[in-house]
């Protein structure tokens, strides 16, 4: 199967005062379309940094990063924002729902960046909320939902634009065991049934067990 994400000699370092702190060292990785990849490693190993680079919310210091044929390291700020809205679905550890918007409105947010009509947006939002099993909670605010339900809304928001890849940063890190299982089952379904490419950062071996591929990072190197 063809690579949807191609990473070649990718390095990332941060500047702290006069010190340069390397985070990723000359890293190369191919992720195939439809793959469910779990990136594992201890804290500070660089896994979230790698996820951020793949998702186009951070820029590499050097190297080539191609996602679905686009060298995203070369895109400017504005083009990268447009690219993200079309190609990336985000799932965060703390859900990152907008507290003043309902579940429906949170899921609709990424669609506001498309040319879809209001009616088309409604249809799409209702569809993805039914996929995550939250049709009955559509008009609830995040604070009226449980952690597991919030994360399912966040997943609905991530898939509503039918993005090329889904990136998930510790998606079960803030959930109890049952809720975590529900979320992982949902991700597994998205991968298997809807053929979504998923890159997931996790500490948790049980979560990683759902992934089709596991890669370990340590001190900025793939091991």
């Amino acid at each position: 199967m063809a690579s949807i994400i191609s990473i070649q000699n990718l390095s990332k370092s941060y500047q702290r005062d006069s010190f340069e702190i390397p985070v990723l060292n000359n890293l190369s990785l191919e992720i195939e379309e439809g793959e469910f990849l779990a990136l594992m490693g201890p804290s500070g190993s660089g896994k979230t940094t790698l996820l951020n680079l793949i998702a186009g919310i951070d820029k590499p210091s050097s190297g080539k990063l191609t996602v679905a044929g686009t060298d995203i390291a070369k895109l400017n700020e504005s083009a990268l924002a447009k690219w993200r809205s079309n190609n990336v679905g985000f799932i965060f550890q703390f859900y990152n729902l907008i507290p003043v918007l309902t579940a429906f409105e949170n899921v609709e947010l990424p669609l506001l960046l498309t040319n879809l009509s209001k009616a088309e947006r409604k249809k799409r939002v209702e569809l993805v909320l039914s996929v995550v099993g939250l049709t009955d909670r559509m008009y609830h605010y995040p604070k009226q939902l449980s952690g597991g339900q919030e994360q399912r809304v966040a997943i609905a928001r991530a898939i509503v634009t039918d993005p090329t890849i889904l990136v998930a940063d510790e998606p079960t890190g803030d959930l109890d065991k049952n809720s975590a299982n529900e979320v992982l089952t949902l991700l597994d379904r998205l991968n298997k049934e809807f053929k979504k490419t998923i890159v997931m950062v996790t500490h948790d071996p049980a979560s990683a067990a759902k992934a089709s591929v596991k890669r370990h990072l340590d001190k900025g190197d793939l091991v």
Partner: protein
């Protein structure tokens, strides 16, 4: 596409205390700003309405006001036979030769204050038809009787019908109360010009001559005739309305400059208040900003959202401030008229220009207060913003 407006509106609701305090701060500044402009405009409106378009006032050249002007008896006689002056049915020119003096009266609220006493001729009713008796009767010419303006009646002791007002060693009886469409005349007392001249030993020299033109369009012809008469060279003629407009200009400008200066200082406080509110809004919503940016919303969308919130706060403040200020229209206050050195009662007056100026002023406060926090929000790095969770 922009971040939806309901996002901003619901955040206002969520932070109603800080948003409310900022709105109140801006509303108070707009209130003061509008009140000052309304005061200046009220004075102008009162004084301008004192004059009529078809009346001409004759004053001594370079006289700043009627108090400092003199028109001799000979000059009055020459003026009275000039052409283009309106005449009564029996052929008398509609002219009022008016001595104007400042006298001192006790106020009902305590203390003394200057008021203008004006002597008028018997044609005054035709000259100033907007002056209407609301109580009592017109004074009798040849007697020491007075009619008092409504404002004088309300604010000064001894200004009721039947009471005596004492000045220049004589006692004058109040026989009537008049209104003059809210104009400056309501802050005056009127009596027979000849009696007033006699009381003040002024012979026949009055302060000003006011006359009605047979046609307002004939002013230039009248002026030209007037100026060609060498006996009148020491005098000048003006449309009465223009004269009172000039009288109001100095005072209104003074109030405007002083008021705007004070308001600008107040506005710094309100602007800093708005800035603190918006910085707090950005700080509280850093993760949300990071999330919105990650989803694909651009920096400009974030900038516009926060700037719009600041502008909306200032516009709500402006509406409240203007509503409060508009209630001032129901109040009358008196102040010393710089031009006549006597009390002038006026009402705060609102105009479309004041409304527009107030909105512009509030918008500037909102933009200044919201700009730096909005730029900060827009410049946040996505990874840093998300990490703050």
């Amino acid at each position: 596409m922009k971040i939806p407006i309901k996002y901003s509106l619901r955040n206002f609701k969520k932070r109603k205390l800080t948003t409310g305090i900022t709105v109140v701060g801006i509303a108070l500044v707009v209130f003061v700003f509008a009140a000052v402009l309304m005061m200046a405009y009220g004075i102008q409106k009162t004084l301008i309405s004192t004059g009529a378009d078809d009346n001409v006032i004759v004053l001594r050249k370079a006289a700043q006001n009627e108090i400092s002007s003199v028109v001799t008896g000979d000059q009055q006689n020459i003026i009275s036979v000039l052409p283009y002056i309106a005449k009564t049915a029996d052929g008398k020119p509609i002219i009022s030769n008016e001595p104007v003096v400042v006298i001192n009266l006790p106020k009902k609220s305590g203390g003394m204050s200057n008021i203008t006493a004006r002597g008028v001729s018997d044609q005054v009713k035709k000259l100033r038809p907007n002056v209407k008796l609301v109580d009592g009767r017109m004074f009798n010419f040849g007697s020491k009787e007075l009619i008092v303006g409504r404002s004088i009646h309300e604010r000064f002791d001894g200004a009721d019908i039947g009471e005596e007002i004492r000045f220049a060693g004589d006692e004058w009886t109040v026989v009537g109360i008049f209104e003059a469409g809210g104009s400056g005349f309501e802050s005056e007392i009127w009596g027979d010009a000849l009696q007033l001249l006699s009381t003040f030993n002024r012979g026949s020299t009055v302060s000003a001559v006011t006359l009605k033109l047979d046609n307002p369009e004939n002013f230039e012809k009248f002026k030209s005739t007037f100026l060609t008469d060498r006996r009148l060279q020491q005098l000048e003629v003006k449309i009465e309305k223009l004269h009172f407009e000039e009288q109001s200009e100095m005072m209104a400008t003074f109030i405007r400059i002083l008021g705007i200066f004070v308001t600008i200082i107040f506005s710094l406080g309100a602007t800093i208040g708005a800035m603190i509110t918006m910085y707090a809004a950005v700080a509280n919503r850093t993760v949300e900003i990071g999330t919105l940016r990650a989803l694909g919303f651009r920096r400009t969308s974030v900038l516009v959202t926060f700037l719009s919130e600041s502008l909306l706060i200032s516009i709500i403040g402006a509406v409240i401030g203007l509503l409060l200020a508009s209630s001032l229209q129901f109040f009358s206050i008196s102040t010393l008229n710089f031009a006549s050195f006597s009390e002038l009662e006026f009402k705060f007056a609102l105009s479309p220009e004041i409304i527009i100026s107030s909105f512009i002023f509030a918008t500037v406060m909102g933009l200044l207060g919201g700009f730096l926090p909005s730029v900060r929000a827009a410049r946040l790095k996505i990874v840093d913003a998300l990490r703050s969770s």
